[in-house]
């Protein structure tokens, strides 16, 4: 047998070069699918940003006659000397750091638990994902009822065990930690699943190696399980940081920023300023500090950690 070709098929297989005209180039194809979406997105980014930017240079008043007075950078300067802003800022940072650590830690723990499930028990994995499907405001309601001394599980258990006391987590000292725990409850399953997907790609031989090296469980985790997960952890650190700083509905339904202003994170301060006080110019200026906080935090994470991971 020499060749498969037969004369009649040869011409057909040799398609003439005419198709080239009908085929889109990379750029054209990219333009066709991206431009409409990008225009949409740019509008929905640019419009509110531009609007808010304009507001932020004005003092907006609705009462005693509407007025918008140009005040330049005054709003921005005022924010920096606003005690409520700094209080909210510190609470946001505290909430975010705690949420990130708890979410990653708990996500990791969940992943380790479901990884080791024997095949017949694998269906349990499906249950662990469920809290992720709960909305932030739903999670807020759950944790409000769970944490309050009046309705909470602490009080119920304490009394069931015979202690006549009320255990309350919604206190000035604990509320942020408690909220972070709730946020972690909400988001950790997703982290767990992506970590699990990565863990399953680690060659089992490495674990045998670790055993031969007589590594302790902890060392095995540290030197075998953890390294391939680092990029995933980095990505989720970024995601959870952004989501935590942005979070509003969760805190709105859980504590309304309370008790007092103990959980009035920046988004809540912003909500009060813009919605309750209708101080729109000032609120807009504050929202740019909030945006800056988000960008700077993710920037810091990227430059101190992400670039190292990306190079790897």
């Amino acid at each position: 047998m020499a060749r498969l070709a037969s004369p009649d098929t040869e011409t057909a297989a040799k398609t003439p070069a005419t198709r080239r005209r009908g085929e889109l180039s990379n750029l054209q194809f990219a333009l066709v699918v991206t431009v409409p979406v990008l225009v949409f997105l740019v509008l929905v980014i640019a419009y509110p940003l531009g609007y808010a930017l304009n507001l932020s240079f004005h003092d907006i008043r609705f009462f005693g006659g509407y007025s918008a007075t140009w005040v330049g950078l005054e709003n921005y300067a005022d924010v920096l000397s606003d005690e409520r802003f700094w209080n909210g800022f510190l609470l946001t940072v505290r909430f975010t750091v705690e949420t990130v650590l708890l979410t990653l830690g708990i996500g990791m723990a969940l992943a380790l638990v479901v990884r080791d499930l024997p095949p017949r028990w694998r269906w349990l994995r499906a249950l662990i994902i469920l809290p992720w499907a709960v909305s932030p405001y739903g999670a807020g309601i759950f944790f409000a009822y769970l944490g309050r001394g009046q309705t909470g599980v602490g009080t119920a258990l304490a009394n069931a065990l015979g202690f006549d006391t009320s255990i309350n987590f919604i206190t000035q000292d604990l509320v942020v930690e408690f909220l972070a725990l709730g946020a972690a409850w909400n988001m950790a399953p997703l982290v767990a699943f992506f970590l699990l997907a990565n863990m399953l790609t680690t060659p089992p031989r490495l674990y045998d190696l670790a055993k031969l090296d007589r590594m302790s469980r902890f060392e095995t985790f540290l030197y075998v399980t953890l390294p391939p997960l680092r990029f995933t952890l980095f990505v989720f650190t970024c995601i959870i940081t952004v989501l935590s700083i942005k979070t509003f509905d969760y805190i709105f339904t859980a504590t309304q920023g309370g008790p007092g202003s103990a959980s009035s994170v920046l988004t809540y301060v912003l909500y009060r300023t813009s919605f309750q006080n209708l101080d729109l110019g000032y609120g807009a200026a504050m929202s740019f500090y909030l945006l800056a906080l988000i960008l700077i935090s993710t920037g810091i994470i990227f430059f101190t950690w992400g670039r190292r991971e990306a190079r790897r």
Binding site: L49, A133, S135, T155, A197
Partner: protein, 284 residues
């Protein structure tokens, strides 16, 4: 997998994981099966003493007679709950469909093609992830008033897309990046870019698209901040906005719990059946 044996530690760990997962939900959802006095009892009850389904009937507008003959009246919020359920389904399904339809080609292009200004455009897409809804609410509201979109499903769908598109794009770009260079195979076989994309890449990306759909659906279904301002008190009210009526002002923890229970069912079902795809798609 290092050890697949069931040890006492593993059982313990599973127990803790399950308690962690279900306790917070259970604690509120149990209210749905309790009467008002039972809910407000102090110290709080660990279990519904005499479970009943009154709240579920009430939120759909029916009175319910308890075993002892007490009639629990229907909720006045029932109309909004029913409306909210319908609207939430419409919004979520439409948003999911549009998001997937738009984002799949978008992220494919960003993940696998080179073109000018790609980096900057990508940055713009991702920047919109970090815009907090609280700060864009007022501008959007004003715009919507001018466009007469307040209180419309269409308006809510548009604004929800601004949340889902960047996030889903983010996930899908990662997913497409990790796929083998299959389009080269397709080009050798003489297929157009459109054919390669629609008939080869999309079928191959099925599990990624599934996960992206779940994410889009969840974000749309769970959206509350914009809905609160844009559609509360209108015929376009969504379930979260309708539910919040049980949370503020007049106390109806039972109804709240019943409607939360209702509201987590669809995402639960979806997440439950699609979780295996999540484990498959490894996008980062």
């Amino acid at each position: 997998m290092t050890r697949s044996r069931i040890t006492i530690w593993l059982v313990l760990a599973i127990a803790v994981a399950l308690i962690w997962t279900f306790l917070p939900m259970y604690w509120t959802v149990k209210f749905a099966f309790m009467t008002k006095p039972e809910i407000s009892r102090f110290p709080p009850l660990l279990f519904p003493p005499d479970p009943n389904l009154a709240s579920f009937f009430n939120i759909f507008g029916s009175d319910y007679t308890l075993a002892d003959g007490t009639v629990v009246p229907a909720s006045g919020q029932a109309r909004q709950i029913i409306l909210g359920l319908r609207n939430s389904l419409i919004v979520s399904v439409v948003v999911t469909a549009v998001t997937i339809f738009v984002v799949t080609p978008l992220s494919y292009v960003f993940a696998r093609m080179e073109f000018p200004a790609k980096g900057k455009l990508l940055a713009a897409v991702l920047l919109s992830v970090s815009l907090p809804p609280v700060s864009t609410l007022i501008p959007f509201y004003v715009l919507y008033v001018q466009l007469d979109l307040v209180g419309t499903l269409f308006g809510l769908i548009i604004i929800t897309l601004t949340i889902t598109i960047p996030i889903v794009a983010w996930v899908m770009i990662g997913f497409f990046r990790n796929m083998p260079p299959i389009e080269q195979l397709g080009r050798i076989d003489g297929f157009s870019r459109l054919y390669i994309f629609t008939r080869i890449m999309v079928p191959m990306a099925r599990s990624g698209i599934m996960v992206a759909s779940v994410i889009a659906f969840l974000f749309a279904w769970n959206e509350y901040v914009y809905a609160q301002v844009l559609v509360t008190g209108s015929t376009a009210v969504t379930l979260p906005a309708a539910m919040s009526g049980f949370l503020f002002q007049a106390p109806e923890p039972g109804h709240l719990a019943a409607s939360i229970f209702l509201s987590v069912l669809p995402p639960f079902v979806i997440a439950f059946f699609l979780q295996k795809h999540i484990a498959e798609m490894n996008f980062v």
